[in-house]
Amino acid sequence: MPDLVAGLGPYLPLLLEGARTTLLLFVLTLPIGFLIALPFAFARNARNRALRGLGHGFVLFFRGAPLLVVLFLVYYGLPQVPGIRQSVLWFLLRDPFTVAVIALSLNSAGFQTHIIAGALRNVPANEVEAARAAGFSRPQVFRFIVAPHAVRLGIRSFGNEAVFVLKGTAVVSFITVRDLMGAANQVYFRTFELVPPLVFAALVYLAAVFAVSRFVRLVEWHATPQLRRAR
């Protein structure tokens, strides 16, 4: 490790800056994706057929479309939609970093919709009925019964999705955002040393994934009373 850092020498700031961009993309994408996913998840579970179809279509679209295609469509394609350059959206689409956040968030929202809708659907109906019979209002049922149980059911899949988001951020170097992957690449092209920058990047990604999985386990432990009692 000390050798590795020494080998990177003058390029360490470049890589650290890249790592910062990657982590920033990650912490922006996951919550924004969640906020986009919530309404689609409710639509997916709605009684109305059209709403259900909309939620399902949203999920299928992002499960089938490569992330890179989504990214290129937003970055190169959207500015060619007639009228968009005159609209208020234009200032968002001019900056590659914002485009990256938009594309990554939309893509993750597709997968998060699937996870959230599934978790909400699988909360046992009798718990809801019992709460209603005990006099809970509908918002209270959601707040105290459905939401906590859904978190318990969905947290693992959510953790997997978080890892996918983290890995997925690497595609932003295709649209000139200098993330960790892009920085490592640049160091390679300047120094023609392959191993140090790639190993550095790999270690950062591994550490980040490790942190995510630790965090997920912590949330799972807090959200699952029977796990705590078993200790």
Partner: protein
């Protein structure tokens, strides 16, 4: 949008079709390699060889944590570096380029294998003890038991997961363009750059990827329905 841009002959249709073939070949070869790696990995991971099992586990964790793009770069540049070092004593100098297609197959196949290994492990664990005990009672040796009893049963449990991974891997193929492969998305991008009609070409590429994914899901549904008959579910 000008759809004549996508025409065969006068438009970009021929180039896009060649790109599509590259994409399909890359996905198919990666899936074959990855499934084989995954099956082997699962067998080692569930075997009694502790050290080997742990190595496989570590490989899975690493491959599932790293961006595919990083694996692609590592394989592509790593191999050309190794070749350069090997050829240097023979007076070959400078950058030795290896084939982007096969580097992509190896890289994406390795990642695919890590995910497949997990699916196979779950599938082996799901095989009920009854048929295996019956095979033992009949005096079937371990290898025939595995090939004729355990593997066919496990495959039925593994199929939905494996088919899902095929879509995941298909979606990873455009990343190989980063080392110069002319796949569908790359050709669409070149066409967009040449004609300034990015939107048309990227929408066309998107449509193709969505149709391919939908086709895989359709096949998956069919196979699952057939397999569930045999599982008595």
């Amino acid at each position: 949008m000008d759809l004549s841009l996508l025409a065969f002959g006068s438009g970009w249709g021929d180039a896009l079709a060649r790109g599509l073939l590259v994409t399909l070949a890359l996905a198919a070869a990666s899936v074959v390699l990855g499934t084989a790696l995954g099956l082997g990995g699962a067998l080692v991971a569930t075997s009694r060889r502790r050290t080997a099992a742990r190595l496989v586990g570590g490989y899975e964790v690493v491959m599932r944590s790293l961006p595919e793009l990083l694996v692609i770069f590592a394989v592509y540049y790593g191999f050309s570096f190794a070749l350069q070092a090997l050829l240097a004593p023979f007076g070959v100098d400078g950058f030795v380029a290896i084939d982007a297609f096969w580097a992509g197959v190896l890289a994406i196949g390795m990642v695919h294998g890590a995910y497949c290994s997990e699916v196979f492990r779950g599938a082996f664990a799901a095989v009920p003890a009854g048929p295996l005990e019956a095979a033992a009672a009949l005096g079937l040796r371990p290898l025939p038991t595995f090939v004729t009893v355990k593997l066919p049963l496990a495959l039925r449990f593994a199929l939905p997961g494996l088919m899902n991974l095929v879509v995941v891997t298909l979606k990873a193929t455009p990343l190989v363009a980063a080392v110069g492969l002319e796949d569908l998305l790359r050709v669409a991008g070149d066409a967009g750059k040449n004609t300034k009609h990015y939107l048309t070409f990227y929408l066309a590429a998107l449509a193709v990827y969505l149709v391919l994914a939908a086709a895989i899901w359709l096949v998956e549904g069919r196979i699952e329905r057939r397999a569930s008959k045999f599982l008595g579910a």
